[in-house]
């Protein structure tokens, strides 16, 4: 449980009423110019690459340090919540344009973090190869990603090492295949019209 990173109610009240930053409408409007400070610090400490993606800070890290990055964010940088863990299948464009220093693989595991006390967000992305689709689980640091990691496993087939209960969550337990992968077919059923032979 992130006790020391949990902001107190007074802290939260102060942060909530901070004036919005100078940027235009958008969810990160309250962030001032020093946002790259966190991303740069993480990138430096863990040999990652920090970029800004449409105004949002993103750090690309190696899969091996995934859990260490999350631990550092929780304990040192006061990122209280991991709001989302998801994955992207890039099988169609493995040779896509990525920031310098990042070697693209088939899967990208993406985690979004939120710091209430500092009122800022950070996105961390790790590349995961297709033949070794595994990454560390964050459930002992952020218990809230339990369901999210199960969903990524269920729909993408990426295993999370250290997850307490890595089973299918959305598909039936005996489902074969990982539906959100691009090479898993969408499962269109041809539309039958009046007069077509049907099972009934």
């Amino acid at each position: 449980m992130p006790d020391d990173a949990t902001p107190t109610a007074e802290e939260a009240r102060e942060t909530v009423h901070e004036p919005a930053g100078e940027s235009d409408q958008g969810p990160d409007a309250a962030i001032d110019g020093s946002i790259d400070e966190v991303a740069d610090a993480v990138a430096e400490r863990f040999q990652g690459v920090a970029v800004r993606s449409h105004g949002q800070p993103v750090v690309y890290v190696d899969r091996g340090v995934w859990r260490d990055v999350a631990a550092s964010l929780r304990d040192d940088e006061r990122f209280t919540q991991c709001v989302d863990v998801t994955a992207v299948d890039h099988v169609a464009d493995v040779e896509r344009a990525v920031p310098d220093g990042v070697s693209p693989k088939r899967f990208e595991v993406v985690a979004n973090f939120l710091s209430h006390a500092r009122n800022r967000r950070l996105r961390v992305i790790a590349q995961v190869a297709a033949d070794d689709a595994e990454i560390a689980s964050l459930t002992d640091l952020y218990p809230g990603v339990d369901f999210a990691e199960r969903e990524v496993y269920d729909l993408m087939g990426i295993a999370f090492e250290g997850h307490p209960d890595l089973t299918r969550i959305l598909m039936p337990d005996d489902w074969v295949g990982f539906p959100l992968r691009k090479d898993d077919p969408p499962g269109h059923v041809p539309v039958t019209f009046k007069g077509d032979p049907t099972p009934r």
Binding site: M171, P179, D184, P186, G187, H188, V189, R200
Partner: protein, 184 residues
């Protein structure tokens, strides 16, 4: 059903009308609200588009006490066996309204996750289109069902078909179809 055994005559005709009148005026729906259509079904049951004036105010939670299953919403692969089980638990005579396009045909989601039409799992009497169908559309469907009960078409149809009105075929994973027959 007992009335089938007696040969049709003037007295049984009046009795059948009475039975059908009683049946259509107190159709109790089972709660099977799944998704967005459930909200419109609840709206149909609320004060503005009242279903209580048709005798349908009690949404019975237990399928054993219900006559009508309004499948309101999209039926996923995981939910289909549950749907069938709840349908089987209902006592005859029972009816099914497939509410909304997702329940009728799979709707806008023609993909791996949904059963493309709830009539692949249970026999449907009235299909109500819409996404979601407004309460007025649902009421129209319900009144259509009442009409069918009044004219007794349903019971006649059921008696003819050997599988009780639903020639359900289930595909096994190796592609061979298996016909599901209801116990007679």
């Amino acid at each position: 059903m007992g009335l089938d055994a007696i040969p049709y005559n003037f007295f049984t005709g009046r009795l059948e009308d009475l039975v059908r009148w009683a049946r259509r005026n107190s159709v109790w729906p089972a709660t099977f609200g799944l998704a967005c259509c459930a909200l419109e079904m609840m709206a149909a049951g609320a004060a503005h588009y009242d279903t209580a004036r048709f005798g349908m105010e009690v949404f019975r939670a237990s399928p054993r006490q219900a006559d009508l299953m309004i499948v309101a919403g999209r039926v996923s692969q995981k939910m289909a066996p549950v749907l069938r089980q709840v349908y089987d638990q209902m006592v005859e005579p029972k009816w099914v309204i497939s509410m909304g396009v997702c329940a009728s045909t799979g709707g806008m989601f023609n993909n791996y996750a949904l059963v493309q039409g709830v009539d692949q799992v249970v026999p449907v009497d009235v299909y109500v289109p819409g996404c979601p169908p407004g309460p007025e559309t649902l009421l129209h469907g319900i009144l259509m069902l009442h009409d069918q009960i009044r004219t007794g078409e349903l019971l006649a149809r059921r008696a003819e078909s050997p599988t009780g009105g639903a020639a359900i075929e289930v595909d096994q994973t190796d592609g061979t179809p298996v016909s599901v027959t209801l116990p007679s």
